[in-house]
């Protein structure tokens, strides 16, 4: 079995790469991908912690893996909705660059 600290270190690095992507990229689809990387690191964390959860916690025996299943569903749903927003936006302004779409003042 893989040691837990290596797994959590790995998912932490993946998460901060996602943060880096969100902060640096301006394209909507790139932002979506960065957020998916972050979601994936959360899912990995749940599975890793489930594999090492202390025994005897019968009520939530496999909850880490259960949460991971639910999260995969949630993330896919979000991407689908994001695609719908891309379509709606593309119909109006013909580009999906967040910088292009910065008509709203910050």
């Amino acid at each position: 079995m893989i040691p837990l600290d290596e797994l959590v270190l790995f998912s932490g690095l993946l998460f901060s790469l996602g943060i880096f992507g969100v902060l640096t990229r301006r394209n909507f689809i790139m932002l979506l991908i960065s957020i998916e990387i972050m979601m994936n690191s959360a899912i990995l964390n749940f599975i890793a912690f489930a594999a090492y959860s202390p025994a005897g916690n019968s009520l939530l025996e496999v909850s880490g893996q259960g949460i991971a299943v639910v999260l995969i569903g949630l993330a896919a749903t979000e991407v689908a909705l994001g695609l719908a927003i891309v379509l709606a936006l593309n119909r109006i302004i013909g580009s999906v660059d967040v910088a292009d779409a910065m008509q709203l003042k910050l």
């Binding site: 998460f15 957020i35 959360a42 890793a48 912690f49 880490g64 639910v70 979000e78 927003i85």
Partner: protein, 523 residues
Amino acid sequence: MSFDIPSIAQYTPEATVFIGVILVFMLDVAGIRSRAIIGGATSIFLLLAFLQVLADLGSWPLQGLSTLPAGLLGTQNGPVIFTNFGLIFQGIFLLSALLVALASVSEADGEEVPTFYALLSLAALGMLFVAISADLIFLLLSVEITGIATYVMVGYTRKDRRAVEAAMKFYIIGALSTAISFFGASLLYGAYGTTSLTAFRALPANSSLALVGFGMVAVGLGFKATLVPFHMWAVDVYDGAPASVSAFLAAGSKKMGLFGIFIVFVAAVRIFASAQGFALYLALGALAVITMTVGNVMALEQTTMKRMLAYSSIAQAGYMLLGIAIDTPAALAGATLQITADVLMKAGAFIVVGAAVGLGVGPLITDWRGVGHSRPGIGASFAIMLLSLAGMPLTLGFVGKFYLFFAAVEAGGYFTLLAIAGLLNSALSVFYYARILRYMYMPESTGSATAGAHPLSHSSLGVGNAPAAPAWGSVRDEIRGTGSARWATVVGIALLLLVLGIYPTPLIGAMNSAAQQFLTLGL
């Protein structure tokens, strides 16, 4: 750990709202797209759910109708727990959805009507689940129901470029906050071995992991609640979205974020404060004060009504966060009262702004010059809302702030400073609310005077008792301009603010006991 069918009776409000959603779908399939029918049906179902929540709370005429089994209150059932505090918030959430549903009946018919109402009901459904959650994953997933519904609602006009861009921005921020809070939840799962909120009442073996986890969940929910470092999106989204959706975001979905923060952190704050010392209270207090200060200062320099209201909404979030930063039953009750007041005020104010087009008023604050005279009903109601937002006595906004600051002074020591900061901020906010009032009750400039019935003499007479002065004819005009449902909602909100401001005793009593119970449960 049962979520079985026979126990469905206790979920009557949720079921009612969901039946409303299905009915809207069926009306859509039947080709009925009229706002009066679909909006009316949605409002009725939301109202029924609201009354059911009031019955569950045991409020006066309805107590016999409660569907909660005896002994259910306060006992955790798997991922769900019913508490009086949660039920009060269910009422608040349903109220915000109901007001928006009623007011938007007056907007134009179109193909988007069924989607708008279905999503509004679904968002309300998500908020209802948030209010009864006893499990972090359940909570975050419920937040996500509301989140996804509101992303689409922001862009529901679909042809308006600004609205769709606002939807895109809101979606990115929402998805980001979801990812961050789920990562935090995964760390908490690692620290505690479970995601049940009751488990978070103990200090785990690995408290640094839990602290980082709590921090990330706070960041994720802080985005929803527009706390200050994470507030940048709010102004753009509230500005770009249709006004009725802004009303729902400011009144409903933001309160959901605050409630999430309350139930996740009330236990955690105390445990970590006992382990790590006073720093946590200091940080929360600083966050609250920064949020209200930034909101108020930025609101001062806005020129458009919607952006001003958006910043003022951020400032209000700061006051509400004081409830958990002070962490006494009185402060929590005060924050709940302030949240109730803010739901009415913010929903009302955004609805008025949404009606502005029908009234022939532009988006700038200066466009509101003379509205108090030419539109007496809306003008007076809006004035009451603004006075309540500024915290003037005899309104509900005053009661909420008074209780909150009083609780801070009562807690003593460092918390007194929070009360002083809050008072100074309230004083600051009076400036920009008073500016609008000044414009509204200023004589219309001679050049742009529209109705010939407004000579200068009339206006100077009307300053004292503006609402009563003009003839009924202009009220009828006004109702035609805003639509009767919207007009009635706005006036009703204003009356409610006054009535509850003058006689808040039942509200205060209920909230005090609920907050007391909530804090002893630790959940």
